[in-house]
Symmetry: C2
Subunit: 387 residues, 2 copies
């Protein structure tokens, strides 16, 4: 295990009927809030109403900023920052999935500085302070509800960049599994894929010495993300399935799975970000295309962890399956297909001729994330395995 600091101060309020605590929790941080949300699904499923009433009852003044899109845009973040400055907002309340929460974090960081918030993402400026953020989660996927990361897409350059800072942990996140009952089947599946991708990035960061505590934790989360996703797809209103998926996705990226691994690169995310940025595909859907290709590419260098994963979570020995990396990848791939998450670029109508363009975009992020072993040729090679 490598040395590490683990410090996650986010308070999680989990369960049925917890959304009305957003008001009392938010008033602790200020009187005037920016209520940030997406494209209206929370108005249909009743979450908006619960949040609005609770904030009002707690005595908060509300300025709204709806319209956050999947693969949230810098321009929308900047509009939010302008509103915060114009209305002298004290606290941001983000209600939605990872896109909304990430936008909220960017607004929190950008509202206390006079320079372009994008400079945080390109490493030209560093965060010294932020506004506080509270959150209500409506999608099990990104883990943003209990971590300090955010991913935003630059409208003009189509760069989808991520950045993290310890001041970006939400002060409180409210996780009511019932708020995810109306998540459509496709986004439910993509959310599970996203959670699995997060822990796979850690799992595949093979270290010497090994990190067996983290390995077992991750294997358990993958088993549960797959199983609970299956149950959600059978019955979208299965509370326990939604709860298990939600908690597994949160734990997948709250710092616990990666503690002790040293520097972790997130190469699958690095490549996927280019798919989302260039073709606006849902992040989880892009990941289920990249994961099998990346694993096949990685297995040429080092197949051990991929075989370990399959042996432990897919019970190779018991099922008489020969323990190969390909067996692991194949089972994962089949599962992606079963939950209707794509596994090939062609399913997005992305032609092989676009691969150099995608690699070009990914390379920019590879440089910022210091993934030095990923040359243009390497990324193109991985993408070729995703055709």
């Amino acid at each position: 295990m490598q040395n590490f600091v683990f410090h996650n101060p986010t308070k999680i309020i989990f369960g049925r009927g917890t959304i009305p605590s957003i008001g009392p929790e938010t008033i602790l941080w200020g009187k005037k809030c920016l209520l940030l949300y997406g494209c209206g699904s929370i108005k249909k499923n009743g979450v908006y109403g619960q949040v609005f009433s609770s904030l009002k009852e707690a005595g908060l003044e509300i300025v709204e900023h709806g319209g956050v899109q999947t693969n949230p845009l810098l321009s929308h973040v900047k509009e939010g920052i302008n509103k915060v400055k114009a209305h002298k907002i004290d606290v941001v309340v983000a209600v939605g999935g990872g896109s909304v929460l990430d936008s909220g974090k960017a607004v929190c960081a950008g509202s206390v500085v006079n320079h372009d918030v994008w400079k945080f993402f390109t490493g030209k400026k560093s965060i010294k302070s932020t506004l506080p953020m509270t959150a209500v989660l409506t999608l099990a996927a990104s883990g943003s509800e209990m971590n300090s990361g955010m991913v935003i897409t630059h409208d003009a350059t189509r760069e989808k960049f991520g950045f993290g800072h310890k001041l970006l942990f939400p002060k409180v996140s409210i996780l009511d599994p019932e708020a995810t009952f109306t998540v459509p089947m496709d986004y439910t599946a993509y959310g599970a894929v996203d959670a699995i991708a997060h822990v796979l990035e850690y799992y595949m960061t093979t270290k010497d010495p090994a990190t067996p505590v983290q390995d077992r934790f991750i294997e358990g989360l993958i088993i549960n993300a797959m199983d609970s996703c299956d149950r959600c797809l059978v019955n979208p209103r299965d509370y326990n399935a939604r709860a298990d998926l939600m908690w597994a996705a949160t734990l997948a990226l709250n710092g616990m799975t990666g503690a002790g691994l040293g520097r972790v690169g997130f190469p699958m995310h690095m490549i996927e970000h280019s798919l989302s940025a260039l073709y606006d595909v849902p992040h989880g859907a892009g990941l289920s295309v990249i994961i099998p290709g990346w694993l096949r590419w990685h297995s040429i260098v080092d197949a051990r962890k991929i075989i370990q994963l399959g042996s432990r979570i897919f019970n190779f020995e018991l099922r008489g399956i020969e323990p190969t990396s390909n067996a692991t990848v194949k089972i994962l791939e089949n599962w992606f297909t079963r939950i209707n998450s794509p596994i090939r670029l062609a399913e997005f109508d992305i032609p092989p001729e676009d691969i150099p363009l995608i690699a070009e975009n990914a390379l920019r992020l590879a440089k910022i994330w210091r993934l030095d072993q990923y040359s243009r040729e390497t990324i193109e090679g991985i993408l070729t395995l995703c055709r």
Copy 2:
């Protein structure tokens, strides 16, 4: 999953060479500290020197309070409280294992009130504020380094009572696995048993609906506690083994394993506390006597989780072992024996005639912990299975 609030604000600094950060981390909380420690092992292994220099260099005034014993005593806590009051101490620095850290928490709670600190343990008073505590851990076992609980023994009544409050989380805990290189073999083993006992209490709190995310996490921790303990016993200076055991023990009781389980009773601890209190046996050693008996007793009512545990972590199917609860208990029991942790009351020279006396003591804690299903007869019955 039941509704829950998870909020663990402790900062963990983990790894080789991290002890010198105690000074800079402590000075954030005040200028005058009470340096709390045990019976001198930290003076032999160099930890004391590192801590003292770091505190001094950071500019802290130090008042010492050594001599915390295994199964820490209320009288010693009270002496610490008196020192804090006399010297106007700002912050407690606890350096040691669970006994020292628990004593530190009790000093932190008792120093800001005028009544007897024991009233917190008997539920007669509730905590409103505390002094801050920082910690350096020297034993992988109790999890006290990242939780809000404490267990203290009343000298006169021989009651060993536990109590928790959210204000009792250490502000920071420094976990250097090298600080555990000199832990003797017996206490290394007892520490692993303690960690396993913590997660077993959660695991055996069978709930409907099930909590599969928590189950897998716990199973992974048990596998790792056993495996890393084995490696520590082979080579006490195996850094990775010490690191894995240390981190597994911390994760076993930091709130994560129990989140979503609702009220959890800790019945094995309830009975063990009486062994420690009456015969001053090491807590982990007492637990390895109680665990098999309690599991055998519980299996009469509900064997499902015990079988699940064995099937998953001991690979019953693959090894052709018939999946029974007794098979699980037997494997655990054999492992306790292999690591030289006792499995019968007789190994402590406690005669069967003492069982009513132990049950009498345990019953008092059962009442405070609201373990209503544990009558005197039930506890005696369980203890009979531990003879």
